[in-house]
């Protein structure tokens, strides 16, 4: 027996609707430090235009953001600042480590630089390159969107692991 639909409806869970909305309106907190910041700006501006992905609201305010983009090399002096910003962001939150320096220290294996921010905070997407091209940045944005759509955030795994320890 066919069920007559009174009007077009789609059934879903509240959670996946929220995740869908989240994934298409990421609010990034750009932590632009060095060369990668210039390519990040290029990705956000005229030619590459990240606002096509719903991510154009750059407000430099961690309390209103859900995506931290660390682009550039992080020094010993800067790391506490970065940690403070990460802690200020509300959950759920995601983190992109842009470029070789943020991901691993890159070519700068020196006394002053952190050799990879993932020693201190969870990273959802690493972008290789020195600096990465804007296309690579957009790819990483899509990876994070995908994670958000599935309701995954690396903070969960991170928190769980921390609780086990």
């Amino acid at each position: 027996m066919a069920v007559e639909k009174p009007f077009d409806i789609t059934t879903t869970t509240l959670e996946s609707a929220i995740n869908w909305a989240r994934s298409n309106s990421m609010w990034p907190m750009p932590f632009g430090v060095a060369c990668c910041a210039i390519e990040m700006m290029a990705a956000l501006m005229s030619k590459y235009d990240a606002s096509r992905f719903g991510s154009e609201v750059l407000k430099f305010s961690p309390r209103q953001s859900d995506l931290l983009i660390v682009s550039g090399r992080i020094s010993l002096k800067m790391m506490p600042v970065l940690m403070r910003i990460w802690e200020q962001m509300p959950e759920p939150k995601w983190c992109i480590s842009m470029g070789a320096c943020a991901s691993s220290g890159g070519v700068f294996d020196t006394y002053a630089l952190i050799q990879g921010i993932d020693q201190f905070l969870p990273v959802d997407a690493y972008i290789p390159g020195c600096p990465p091209r804007p296309e690579a940045f957009i790819e990483a944005l899509m990876v994070v969107q995908e994670k958000a759509r599935e309701g995954k955030a690396s903070t969960q795994a991170y928190t769980e692991k921390a609780q086990q320890v």
Partner: protein, 178 residues
Amino acid sequence: MGNALIVFDPTTGPPIAQRVQAQFEGRLLRGYQEGLQQGFDVTAEVAPSLLAFLRNDLGCTCLVDLTAVDYAKYPEAQPARFGVIYILLCPETGARVKVRAFVADSAPRLATAVPLFAGADWAEREVFDFFGIVFEGHPNLKRILLPDGYRDHPLRKGYPLRGKGERADFEVYRAFTG
């Protein structure tokens, strides 16, 4: 407009070398020509008066750069371990002068150049930060590029490129990582 600017020619330029030699006779370690630059080596005690003479009497009013070199492993013997290097410019003639003031290894000290050249402020702090040379009379001598609480002076020879474990064990962020 047009290119109405000065190009320095050492053959016709001001007689900086002769003036300094005459004024500081017996007190210079060495005077030499280095490319287009005139160079003078002095001890730390003579440096302030030489800088003042160059600035006030010879018109070298612009401090282009101030830095230091650790000669501890240099193949040729130098008068002392540290050389503090001043590069001065005379804006009227375009002449450049290099002054090397040698500072001894034990408790390195030198008089500040801030009263003469305001731009020496940060540069001296940087030399203090990286080499541990103390500039006496400096208005605000503290670390500038490295974080407070850093224990060593990384541009000294013998300090390893990757540090002495500061990256893994630095008190400021140890608090965050536990």
